[in-house]
Symmetry: C2
Subunit: 439 residues, 2 copies
């Protein structure tokens, strides 16, 4: 993409009302624009990141056997009356009345709606297991939205739901999501720690939050260092196999949010393994059995001919929240430092003297070569001065910068800079291309 044809409204000043780094940086780099309390427009740079996260989530869930659907944003109140949550949910639920005075709501989550879809079609254990997910905008009318997309009101969530005949099968579905989540977060360049969690308004008796560590995290977290050092199960994991060992390898270690923290148990860890930090919740999984299927009469026939309420779990990832969460975990004093897999572009190409024929030609050739190699490139072909161009590339945080100027051209080299390490190299165009090629 040529910057002269793009829409990248980067500003120099940090906005005064943004309290945390990700919110400041997202506004400064023109990733989002606020349209109201907790409501944002995603501008091109921000949308690129959002879509990359969405795609990683999609691929990792599909790999684990989940199936994508798309439920609507608005729901009928009737379903929530069946489950008993319509009154219970409180003011965070945005209630709406249509022109025919029907009670509706903007979905804050989808247990009821997906249970209704399920019960319309599935009647037999032979159609199980089933795991349906979607990535759709939700609305929660937070009393005090803040921290930008980290605690917005309209937000993009992946929520998935598993359906099984027995608690044992449901536990297997839970384990599949447990592992898929670790894989997804690792692909985004994050270390996510699963922590035993409170089940809150969703209900149920088994639940884990997935927490990434960042100084600005919303809550105190405590865990065994071993969990930070353990790689995710990986793409080769056989999701049809028994994953109990994969899960227990992690749950055997101490990890808890402050709500669930057990000071005494934590103190038993060797001191060098006690990690006490701040964390950001990026995912949350629940096993809640028949909490919704029972009142909503979502029954399936077992092999014995009996109709029983289906066993369910639900699985959330905060897709738009992750954009802020990744920035919290990945930035320095000059701006964002994107992990490769979620970077809005892979390379920033800077033309140091636009209008100079040799420089323009060299840049055009490099840009064509990068594009031909399938490398997403943002080409700064604007007439801004060099300092502004460097600062802008640094703050938007693309993994690699390639700088082409008259002096380098005379010597047959370009400058390649790694945004994360700051390391600079002078290389031929061919060597530069080889260096920045995604691993």
């Amino acid at each position: 993409m040529r910057l002269s044809k793009y829409f990248l409204p980067v500003s120099k000043e940090a906005p005064s009302d943004a309290a945390i780094a990700s919110h400041q940086l997202m506004l400064r780099t023109g990733m989002v624009r606020q349209n109201g309390a907790g409501i944002y427009t995603w501008l091109p740079l921000g949308l690129n990141v959002l879509k990359k996260i969405e795609q990683i989530v999609r691929e990792e869930l599909n790999r684990a056997g989940a199936i994508e659907i798309l439920m609507p944003t608005l729901q009928q109140a009737d379903l929530w009356k069946e489950s008993g949550r319509y009154e219970a949910y409180g003011k965070e639920m945005l209630r709406i009345t249509d022109r025919h005075d029907r009670e509706m709501l903007y979905g804050p989550t989808n247990e009821e709606l997906v249970t209704d879809v399920f019960r319309s079609y599935v009647k037999s254990y032979k159609q199980l297991p089933l795991n349906l997910y979607h990535q759709q905008w939700k609305f929660r009318d937070e009393i005090r939205p803040r921290f930008g997309v980290m605690r917005g009101r309209e937000f993009l969530m992946k929520d998935g739901y598993s359906f099984d005949l027995t608690p044992e099968d449901a536990r297997r579905s839970y384990n599949r999501m447990f592992c898929a989540y670790l894989n997804a977060f690792e692909r985004m360049g994050l270390t996510a720690v699963p922590m035993r969690a409170d089940t809150g308004p969703i209900g149920g008796d088994l639940s884990h939050e997935f927490i990434i560590l960042a100084d600005t995290g919303e809550s105190a977290v405590f865990c065994d260092k071993a969990l930070l050092e353990m790689p995710a199960p990986g793409a080769d994991l056989d999701f049809d196999a028994d994953l109990t060992a994969e899960v227990e390898k992690r749950t055997q270690h101490y990890a808890a949010t402050d709500e669930m923290h057990d000071e005494a148990a934590f103190a038993e860890l060797p001191e060098e393994r006690q990690v006490s930090a701040r964390g950001i919740e990026v995912g949350h999984i629940f096993y809640f059995g028949t909490k919704y299927s029972e009142p909503m009469n979502a029954l399936v026939q077992g092999p014995d001919g009996q109709m029983v309420p289906v066993e369910m779990g639900s699985y959330g990832i905060g897709v738009s929240r992750l954009v802020g969460g990744i920035i919290e975990a990945c930035h320095d004093e000059n701006g964002i430092v994107w992990p490769e897999a979620v970077a809005p572009f892979h390379v920033g190409l800077i033309n140091m003297r636009v209008g100079d024929e040799a420089c323009d030609n060299a840049c055009n050739q490099a840009y064509a070569a990068l594009t031909d190699a399938g490398i997403d490139t943002l080409y700064d072909d604007t007439e801004d001065r060099a300092g502004a161009k460097f600062a802008r590339m640094d703050v938007i945080g693309l993994p690699w910068q390639i700088v082409i100027g008259p002096r380098g051209i005379a010597n047959g080299v370009v400058e390649v800079k790694n945004r994360k390490t700051g390391e600079k190299s002078e290389l031929s165009v061919a060597d530069a291309l080889a260096m920045v090629r995604p691993s």
Copy 2:
């Protein structure tokens, strides 16, 4: 995708309350499930099609220089008060009050919001032209939603907005979208005819609807047959060039919806070129100048230093409506007949005797070969009887079917069926693969 691991709730009966073919077929094939009046869940098969259409729209708009963003579904009422449309819009606008009693609404369209985004960042003609689009769910509280996704209340629309300094530049932006739309619809396998249209509540003085012909179309349309025979401008079109000739090549021919129909002008056409049919609107483009920029004070500085209201146009494509529209245009007595580019899968592979080792092996090998070749395949590995399998593949309308049974295996052949022509061939697996490979 193995059907045994998929979620494809195909039913035999046409639902009684669906009045048109696309609505019946979408319910029968489990593409969507209704959750309320004019509100649908997209099940896996339907979502596949929706995403393909969305991606074609994205690629063709990007090719024409438009830039993707994503605006929220909910908007502040204040912006609509600035433009004067808050009261004017009537009951189709879903009005919402949040917990702090702020007036909000579910966006039925986005002229106001995008103008607000624009005026926050763009101050000079040097940042123009600019064309921003998004693909986001909209809500219009239709008094009588019907025809399934063709006239739903919650629907997916691509809406784009162009910003230019002068009316002449705005006309160039309009022409770019005019051509991009023709390219997008042609890629979907549709012949879309641009017709001079009424501008309605959007306003302005220049507008074209893009209409596809189908017997069940919502309105009568009249056009010169030449328009049905003219190919789209094509992917090689230079969108930086003057596109006036491309546009006039089409607008010189008679074409009008019934609202704009001029019986006398139509009668002047040679009789064999008079096409009088029913049509479905799938896109609509508008040039409306300063209708929103003036009241909303979206000003840009021209080369002469003067601040002037920016010239705008807006451009809509009914993305979810197109799913129904394509089915209306592409079905037969056995079900849907998808154009290749939007088919939910490219090939349906039928195992005629699941459990028979030779048959299972042959199917597994063919499935692996298709998958390795990057061909999206739905593999029917269920134990349903052959008749049910054939009927299901026919009704969901994948472009190709490959049928593998014991008799064919004995002769070293599989059967390949073209869904559209009904033509069947007995071929080796290798020849079958060559035949179904996407063009």
